[in-house]
């Protein structure tokens, strides 16, 4: 009979796990909708921003006094990698994929003899990379208190990156985040923040081939535009990442829920069989006993 009891306990434990996973799935689905709306609402700005960037940068003559944010320091010896991950687990391969991409990039760069430092957004990335690269991680930015990512959450990060760049701590800055393609598909994306990757095809943004007048001047505009652009890129990455996280969690929890119900079915079948076997044995015993009398 002990066997039956154990089976029954397992069934109820799987059932309560299923309740949790299906609740998490629902929560992720509703958070996903919000995150997705936010990510989509933010797209026009970053698109316009890159257009403006391209037209200002494209219209400028190449010169030595170009802002360093745009032209780079002329070296690529030290790298800063900004890795955006989630604060919580239970979202399938979401963090693992990001960390894997970042890790292989770090190893490649180190293989080429470059110096790498790491800035983690979200504690999962730090936890996972801390084992191998704990000496590279300069800081972790905690996002756990933030429920809805606002632009003002992205600016401290970009300010930080800016001040490190101004101090000459690195030459190239890469950001890793997950691009939200669909609920089922999130693409790990490597985006170069500094020097700014401008779609430089040499052509003017204007149809008639003219160039823009700049007011006050191109340099002043670039000085204002570049830090702003950096903040936007970070913000955009964070939003995409948040949407991806919820998408990944929803998918993972959906399959966990389904898995649990498969398991419950299997266990119930075993349980019923065992119960019937027990009944049969009892009957045989009773009949055998009756015959013996």
């Amino acid at each position: 009979m002990a066997n039956l009891k154990i089976l029954k306990e397992r069934i109820s434990s799987v059932a309560s796990t299923q309740k949790i996973t299906s609740a998490m799935k629902m929560v992720a689905a509703s958070k996903l909708r919000r995150a997705q709306e936010q990510a989509e609402a933010a797209r026009p700005f970053s698109e316009r921003m890159s257009q403006v960037m391209a037209s200002v940068a494209g219209g400028m003559p190449k010169s030595d006094d170009m802002p360093k944010l745009l032209a780079g320091t002329g070296k690529d010896d030290t790298y800063l990698i900004v890795l955006a991950t989630s604060e919580r687990g239970l979202c399938g391969g979401f963090n693992a994929n990001l960390v894997r991409a970042a890790r292989s990039k770090i190893q490649d760069l180190q293989g080429e003899g470059k110096k790498v430092s790491l800035l983690c957004i979200g504690k999962k990335g730090r936890d996972m990379l801390g084992r191998d690269f704990s000496n590279l991680i300069i800081d972790t930015i905690d996002m756990s208190a933030i429920r809805r990512i606002a632009f003002s959450d992205a600016t401290p990060i970009s300010d930080r990156v800016m001040s490190m760049f101004d101090a000459g701590d690195f030459d190239v800055c890469l950001m890793f985040y997950s691009h939200f393609k669909s609920v089922m598909e999130q693409i790990v994306t490597e985006h170069q923040l500094i020097p700014v990757a401008v779609a430089d095809d040499g052509a003017s943004a204007l149809e008639d081939g003219g160039t823009y007048d700049a007011e006050p001047g191109e340099m002043e505009i670039l000085a204002d535009l570049l830090p702003r652009n950096l903040a936007i890129q970070v913000f955009h990455g964070l939003l995409e990442n948040a949407a991806s996280e919820q998408g990944a969690r929803m998918t993972a929890m959906d399959s966990a829920t389904r898995n649990a119900s498969d398991m419950i079915d299997g266990l119930t079948l075993t349980y019923n069989r065992a119960r019937q076997a027990a009944i049969t044995t009892e009957l045989i015993e009773i009949i055998a006993g009756a015959e013996a009398v």
Binding site: R48, Q51, S55, G210, A214, E215, P216
Partner: protein
Amino acid sequence: MAEKIAYELVSPERLLRSGEADMVVVPGTEGDFGVLPGHAPVISTVRPGVLEIHDGNAEADQIFIAGGICEVSADRCTVLADEAVPVVDMDRADLEQRLKDAEEDLADAKTDEAAHKASIAAALLKDMLQVAR
């Protein structure tokens, strides 16, 4: 005037407003400028101030923007604003309260960073108060 200019007002978080108008007045860093259809292409930085959208004979729409970038081409005007609030939605009493709070924050800021933040907020609120009715 038959021709109109397409305008877009975008904040980092969303597309705030878009449409067509007869004229858009942008508070540029070097002075306000009006954008009519066929304007020469310009990129300008924007100071905190009021963006006016004139369309037809109706009263102009006034929107406070807290700085940003403006891109103008012959048939469209795109304003990338850091923050935007329609002037009609601004409440003088509320702003005064917020300004007071910001000044208090500034007074008892412990770190340079906090003081810097509070002073930016206070300056912005002062700008907003100037245009609020």
